[in-house]
Symmetry: C2
Subunit: 210 residues, 2 copies
């Protein structure tokens, strides 16, 4: 009995140590944040801060080089500087992709062939993708949700199901490098899982066809 | 030859007369306009004005009794008074339904079971429904687009196709009482076709299952 307790305790400590090492170990990782006007501010800023705190570099990629306007508390919020346009960016230069939500932002992005291809390339390259709220709308156009377990803001549930996704109602869902959450209230769980997946690196089953 | 020209001319005049009669003949018709915050102002106001000019009564139905805020030129616009809430309205009291677009408005409406059921009931009752821009998103949740020919704002094309619709890129599409258009630029054609369908009344093939 004592032996079992000791072994369990050691396993727990190792897991905790390993995880905290992992969390601090995003040094050298570069994360693309794809966003445009109307992104929900917290859904960009909170993961961005956490990723950088964990040692990663983040870059905001957008349709054009102009600053992009955030959306906060039901209205336009402050502007964010864009690091690169889609036309001057390559998914090969990044280790993972973050897709913040907001109602307006993904609706604008999914109109862009370049944004859709950029997103799809992360799946082609088996790299982690984290999408929250309405962010997964872009995944529908990128044709990468079929047979994937995921969540989203509830208003787009039907669209994701019709696209072949296995939609579940959880604060965070992780399916082989694809991390999804529902709303800003889920950000803690979303960020923790995203960091874990980025630390792990490529996932064989994170792909365009499943 | 002269006989053919004369017959064609008479047919043309009759058609014109019949159509203009029809356009002026919405007296006694009552149209529900389902909208909430973020509706594209022109997509409510222009059809509303035209329907009333043609003799119809229009009523704005919403989630709550508070005024609803329009969206115009990329920002919040003026407020519109709500006539009835969904909970105090019945599709049986109306001859047709108008679903304006805007990105925010249908996203809010499709979260509401009452809004989805209200919309679906017009199809159950074979009554004309006219939806423009992002308005058709509500039709996805109402499960009424399968095997229907329609159009919409291009960003939601994939969602409508995944729901089983036959999506086409035209200024207006009419399929047995279901009238759809893409953007405010299509409003003239949208309004003319909506008036025609409302004047015709119920359509057998405007239904929930096809």
């Amino acid at each position: 009995m004592i032996r079992i307790i000791c072994v369990s305790a050691i396993k727990l400590i190792m897991k905790k140590y390993f995880l905290s090492e992992e969390i601090m170990n995003l040094k050298g990782k570069k994360i693309a944040i794809l966003a445009t006007d109307g992104f929900e501010e917290s859904e960009l800023r909170v993961p961005q801060d956490a990723l950088e705190k964990a040692g990663a570099i983040t870059e905001i990629i957008s349709l054009e080089k102009n600053d992009i306007k955030s959306w906060t508390n039901g209205n336009w919020g402050k502007a964010y500087q864009v690091d690169h346009t889609l036309s001057s960016s390559s998914p090969s230069d990044y280790d993972a992709l973050l897709l913040p939500g907001g109602v307006l932002n993904p609706d604008l992005l999914r109109r862009s062939e370049a944004a859709i291809q950029f997103t799809r390339d992360f799946f082609e390259q088996h790299k982690p993708v984290a999408a929250i709220c309405h962010g997964p709308q872009i995944l529908i156009d990128a044709d990468v949700v079929k047979n994937r377990k995921l969540t989203s803001f509830m208003s787009i549930r039907k669209d994701l199901e019709n696209a072949g996704a296995n939609w579940v109602d959880q604060e965070v869902v992780c399916d082989s490098g694809l991390v999804t959450s529902r709303t800003p209230q889920d950000l803690n769980a979303f960020v923790a899982k995203m960091i874990e997946e980025v630390a792990e690196g490529k996932h064989r089953n994170q792909t365009v066809e499943r």
